[in-house]
Every structure is written in C-alpha cells, then in structure tokens.
C-alpha cells in the first residue's frame, strides 16, 4: 500500500530524514519508535503533505501512484489520515459540522452523493459509541475546551468516520491516562478489524512508549534514529526497547 524509498526531508534547511525506507502492506499495523528528534513526527507530517517540510530526495508511492505530487486534501481524499499529536481548535465550528463537511468533501471527490444531516447523524452516533465519547462533544466547537484525552479521542472518532486506507497516529497515546488510552485503543482496534478483503486498512503508530502496543498489537516495529530506520522486527522489538532503551542502536545509526 505504502512504499517509501530513500526519503530525504528538510525543514528550514536542516535535514531531518535521510534515506528513510519503509514498506507498509494492506492490513498491517506498523509501530515506529524512536527517541525525541529522531524524525518520527516529520515522517508522519510529510506523508500527510505538511508544507513546512521539503522533500529533497526519494519517492513515496501510495497504492502505486506518486503521493508527493498530491495536495494535502487530495492525499486525504485518497485515504491518508493523520491523527495529530496536538489537535487544533476551531472556534465556532461544531464537531458535527466539521465531520460532515470533511466526509462530504471526500465523498464529492469520489463522485458519491453527499450525506444529508439525518443519515449522517445516525451513523455518526454509532461511531461515537466506539470511542466512548460523550455525545454532547459533537455539538461543541472542534476541540475547543476539550481535555487532552477528549482531543485524542476526537481524532480517533474522525478516523472512524472518514474510514481512511492508511491511518497515521502521531503520538496519539501521549498525555493519556490509562483509561483514556484503553478507549483510544478500542477505537483503533474497531477501525483495524473491519478488514473486508476489499477494504484492507493499514495503520502506522508513531509512539515513544511500548505501553500502547499492549493494547494495539503491531505486526512490525521499527526503530527510527537520526532520520532513518535502523532496525525492524516484530512486537518483541518494542519490549526489548522498553528494557534497554535506544542506546544500543545509536552505534548502528552513526
């Protein structure tokens, strides 16, 4: 589904990713781990098309076509979803309106009929239950006055509504207490396990901690250090990192 080859990325002239390679197949969950400043968020943002980041070399193929040629919203409509590390507040725009506008934009892109308010709301409520969110949050302004946990759950709700092909969760677990973490994981698993052959979904989890992986079992774990992946393995790699930290990988990176 996603193929990243030799990706080099700069932000304001500083190279953050240098020669990153990653391949994600349909139906797979990949965890990307690494210390602060290793380039995890850069990877997440560059895949979504954030304009602060310049790709200087390499290629990214998404379902066979060149992702880097697409605009931010085209990538979203093609099925790339980024759950932000710091979800943004939009005063005066209700959560329902935001979600409906987003979903209908994407449907329009795919030349599908727009959903009307009633149909949308009914369907939305089933998704709200999946992330254990209070319904009243739907009618509040997007993320305004939400607690940290509510903001992160709201990201997961958006993911469930938009049903992307590839969801990238950028430190969605950071700042969550254990109950909130479980609810987020429940939402992600609900998303993950609707894997009809036609609609296989992949997830990239960007995280610092092994904790999240207790609840969402990855197929692959990658260690990102100094802008490239230095080690890949199964879930056991995350446990090893938890035990020993990143120190043993520093040599490999340099």
């Amino acid at each position: 589904m996603l193929k990243v080859n030799n990706l080099h990325v700069e932000i304001q002239g500083n190279e953050i990713l240098n020669g990153l390679c990653l391949s994600v197949g349909a139906g797979e969950v990949h965890a990307i781990m690494g210390p602060n400043g290793s380039g995890k968020s850069t990877l997440a943002n560059v895949l979504a098309g954030h304009e602060d980041y310049q790709v200087t070399a390499g290629e990214v193929l998404f379902n066979g076509s060149n992702l880097l040629e697409l605009s931010i919203s085209e990538r979203a409509c093609e099925g790339i979803f980024l759950a932000l590390q710091y979800p943004v507040e939009i005063p005066g725009v209700s959560n329902v309106q935001f979600l409906k506008t987003a979903l209908n934009s994407q449907r329009k892109y795919h030349q599908l009929n727009e959903l009307d308010a009633m149909d949308f709301l009914q369907w939305l409520k089933t998704k709200v239950q999946q992330v254990g969110m209070e319904e009243q949050l739907l009618y509040r302004s997007v993320n305004e006055g939400f607690s940290g946990g509510e903001k992160k759950r709201n990201e997961i709700l958006q993911m469930l509504v938009l049903e992307p092909k590839l969801a990238i969760l950028d430190e969605t677990d950071s700042g969550l207490d254990i109950d909130a973490l479980k609810l987020v994981a429940k939402g992600v698993n609900a998303f993950r396990h609707v894997n009809t052959p036609k609609q296989q979904r992949a997830i990239i989890l960007v995280t610092h901690y092994q904790r999240l992986l207790n609840y969402i079992k990855p197929n692959f774990v990658h260690v990102l250090l100094n802008g490239r992946i230095v080690q890949s393995g199964g879930p056991e790699l995350a446990l090893e990192l938890e035990e020993n930290g990143y120190a043993s990988f520093v040599d490999k990176a340099s």
Binding site: A48, G49, H50, E51, D52, S71, I72, S73, R75, A76, C77, F81, L82, L84, P87, V88, E89, I90, P91, G92, V93, Q97, F98, T101, A102, L103, S105, Q106, Y109, S141, Q158, L162
Partner: protein, 482 residues
C-alpha cells in the same frame, strides 16, 4: 510566506457580482449644492413648507461644520460641488406608483439582485421598499400591511400622506445638528423608507428596504424613520448594492428608530455596497448615522449588521436607553478586503434605570483592509443598575491587514456593571492544515472558519438573511484557493 498563507491571499480576492449598470433616462439636477438646489429638491417632491424650512436650516448649519477627522479612515477631500444630489429614473420621478408603472429595466435590475418586486415572485413574508438612486420605485405588500394598521411606504409618500407623524418624529433622534453627514443628509435627502406600527400590533411580516445606487456621480442620501408604538413589534431589514465604477460615490444616510413602551424593533443590515477594486479604485463612501431611541419603558432596540461592502464604512448604530428597563443590542460583522476601510461600532447611552446593553462586534480584515471597532458605553448619573456586556473580536487574514479596537466607557453611576472582552486572532496555518488533512478544500475551510467566527451574529439575522449573509461572506472572500 507559506503556501497556505498564499492560498489565503488568493482566497480573499473575489469579484463583486452586483456591479452592473442599468441604462435609464434620468431626471437629474446638475451637480453642486446650494439653497436653490435644496429648494428644487423640495419642490420636485411637492413638500409642505415645514420640510423645506427644516432642510434649509440643516443646510445653513452644515455650512458651519467641518468634515470630522477623528475616525481611522483616510480618503482625499470630497468636493461637495461635484456631486449630483438628485437623480431619479424618468418614469419614477412623479412619485411612487403601482408596479405596472415601474420601468421594466428597473424591475429587471432588482430581479438580477435577487429582489423580485412583481407580485408572483415577491419574497414570501417580506415586504420590500425599493429605493433606486434618489427615489423609492416600489413598495410591496402595502395593502396587506395596511389591513393591520402598519404604514410602510416611501418617505416621500409619508410626507404627503402622514405629515403629522413626519413632523413629530423627523430629527427627533438624529437632529441635523448631530454631525456633518447628518446635517448634509437633512438638507438634501431625497427619499427613503417610512414605517409606523400602531399600538398593540405585531407586524405580520419582515419589512425591508433595498437601496441601489445606479447613476454616475450621484450621491445617495436617504432617510429611514421607524416608529413603533406601545406593545408593538417590527423586524426590519436593509440591503444595498451599487455598480462598479472607478469613481467614488457618496452614501450618507440617516436612520431613526423610536420604540415606545414595551415596543421592540429589530433592525438588520446586509450592506454590500461596491467596495472598490483590488487596487482600491472606486467604491462607495458610506457615512451613515443610525440611532434608535428606546423612549418607552421596557422597550428594546437591536441592531444587527453584516458589512461587507463600501470603500469606506463610517457608521455607529446606537441606542439611547431612555426608558426604564429598556434594552439595546448591537451585533456586527464587518469585513474589509483589498483596500477597504471600516470604522464602525456603536454608542449605548444609558439614561433610564435598569437598562441593559449588549455589544458583540466581529471584525474580519483581509488583503490591505483596515478594520476599527469604535464604541462608547455611557452610563448617566440617574441610570441605576445599568448593565453592559461588550465583546470585540478581530480576525486577521494575511499579513497586510489591520484591526483596531477603541472602546470608550463613561460611567457616572456607581451601580453600573460593565464588562468588556476583546480578542484578536488569525486563521493559523495549523487550522488550515488540519482542515485540508481531513479532505476539506481550502476554500471551504476558510469559509467554514470565518462562518464559525461570525456564528453568534448570523444567528441574530432572520433565517433567509442568515443564509444570504453567509453566501455574501463567501463571495466577498472568494478568489480562490488551489
């Protein structure tokens, strides 16, 4: 500048859709202002003597005044002798007639503007007085309103048919001594709308005036006078457009509202005068004095305005809270794009006891626009338990625009409770990225965020006009993102 910021810049460069000119034979006076011009205007309108005397007094007073310079708007001096003070379509110059007599070009003009005047297509539930340059060309639903005793007609007709009401109330809220433009208006005003709601009457439909400037070099000076008697209610709407021209045109209107005991007036404006082009060439100078008097106890006046047009807007819809327990409200969205300038706000003058006022102002600046909120809340020495809440929010789009807030507060009674909040914000790149990442187009994202910002105000507009206002914001900011 990031691409997202550039998108914003492009987004705010829309076209003005109402800029066409209607070709018509007109009956106009030559440019220039003198006592003789005023006498001719009065004679053309066949006015009673008291009107002529009032105009002449106003003119003589105006001659003693200087152009006000305290506001934050800049423009070259206006030569008042270059302006045509009276221009009427030939067919309408003999006064308001039945719709059958209105020139088809004029009917088409209003149709193009989305304000059909002929019976079968009239806006359901809205009575319209259509003012074209200097005269009212048609008023719809007059008979239906007359059935419940509501008088709704052009100002000229009111002078003829209800001179006692005009004489009693004209200038009672905005005297010609009030300011430079109010004096000029009193001297030369040519038409406008008049509305009288008798005691115990809830006006059964929305009333509306639609102002259109068409002729070149013509100033529009109209007056609106609304009187609502005890225990009555009216909701009134005003809309405005003008052709695109390279020259600036002057619009100096006066609106007076009078609410007696337990009466309520809601006055909403969707102002979309031609704002000038992208370089700031042309556009309407809109210097307007609007004031309401809550004369009776428990009376209420509320102003709602959506200001998207004009090269310059200079306007402070105000309320004098004279009656005890009276309420004044001001809800405003002012948008300035390109080189537009707006200096707008309100005055809430608390005189009676237990009076309450609310001010919510939303300023949006884009391009090189400059947007100032200027407000005065004054609490007099007998105004016990006066309450005011003011909120002024500014939203900046792009790097070349500006927003200013000038709130003045004068309190002469210790029991007054005054609250003021102000914020300035911009659409951040992160907000845009967030919307785009969810698949929303940049255009929709910006208009969604702006509508969110204005939501509290749009909610105050009658339904149909809330939709229109929302669409207007989109057109005014259109230009488009990629």
């Amino acid at each position: 500048m990031t691409t997202q910021a550039k998108n914003l810049e492009r987004f705010v460069g829309g076209e003005y859709p109402h800029g066409f000119v209607t070709e018509l034979a007109t009956d106009s006076l030559p440019p220039g202002l003198s006592e003789s011009v005023i006498r001719q205007i009065s004679a053309k309108k066949n006015e009673p003597e008291f009107m002529l005397q009032w105009r002449l007094q106003a003119y003589r007073h105006w001659l003693t005044l200087d152009v006000p310079t305290w506001s934050k708007v800049h423009y070259p001096p206006i030569n008042y002798d270059d302006i045509i003070y009276y221009s009427a379509p030939k067919s309408a110059s003999s006064g308001p007639q039945s719709l059958d007599d209105v020139a088809p070009e004029i009917l088409q003009t209003y149709e193009k503007l989305g304000i059909p005047l002929h019976e079968r297509a009239q806006l359901a539930g809205v009575a319209v007085d259509a003012v074209f340059d200097s005269v009212s060309v048609a008023t719809t639903f007059k008979e239906k309103l007359a059935d419940v005793g509501v008088i709704f007609c052009s100002f000229s007709e009111a002078v003829q048919k209800h001179p006692e009401l005009v004489q009693q109330y004209l200038g009672s809220v905005v005297p010609f001594t009030d300011n430079f433009y109010a004096a000029l208006n009193a001297a030369v005003f040519s038409d406008g709308s008049f509305c009288y709601v008798p005691k115990g009457t809830r006006c059964p439909m929305e009333l509306s005036t639609y102002f259109r400037i068409n002729s070149l070099n013509t100033g529009q000076f109209e007056r609106t006078l609304i009187i609502v008697e005890d225990n009555s209610y009216v909701s009134y709407l005003e809309g405005c457009t003008a052709p695109m021209r390279d020259e600036h045109q002057l619009h100096a209107a006066v609106v007076e509202l009078i609410a007696l005991n337990n009466a309520e007036i809601k006055y909403a404006t969707v102002q979309n005068w031609y704002p000038g082009d992208k370089e700031g060439k042309g556009g309407i100078y809109n210097f307007v004095t609007k004031r309401g008097l809550c004369q009776g106890n428990y009376s209420k006046i509320s102003w709602t305005q959506v200001e998207t047009g004009s090269a310059i807007t200079w306007k402070y819809p105000s309320v004098i809270l004279k009656g005890d327990n009276s309420i004044g409200e001001f809800y405003s969205v002012a948008l300035t794009n390109n080189y537009q300038q707006a200096d707008t706000g309100t005055k809430m003058t608390h005189i009676g006891k237990n009076t309450t006022s609310t001010i919510i102002s939303k300023g949006i600046s884009a391009g090189h626009g400059s947007n100032a909120y200027r407000g005065l809340v004054s609490v007099g020495q007998n105004a016990s338990n006066a309450k005011n809440y003011s909120q002024c929010d500014s939203l900046l789009l792009g790097a070349h625009c500006s927003a200013h807030t000038f709130p003045y507060i004068e309190v002469r009674h210790p029991s007054a409770k005054i609250e003021h909040e102000a914020t300035t914000s911009k659409i951040s790149d992160e907000q845009l990225f967030y919307c785009l990442q969810r698949g929303i187009t940049a255009e929709n994202a910006v208009s969604m965020i702006i509508n969110g910002f204005c939501k509290d105000i749009f909610r105050k507009l009658p339904m149909e006009f809330a939709v229109e206002a929302q669409a207007l914001m989109e057109v005014s900011l259109e230009g488009c993102t990629g």
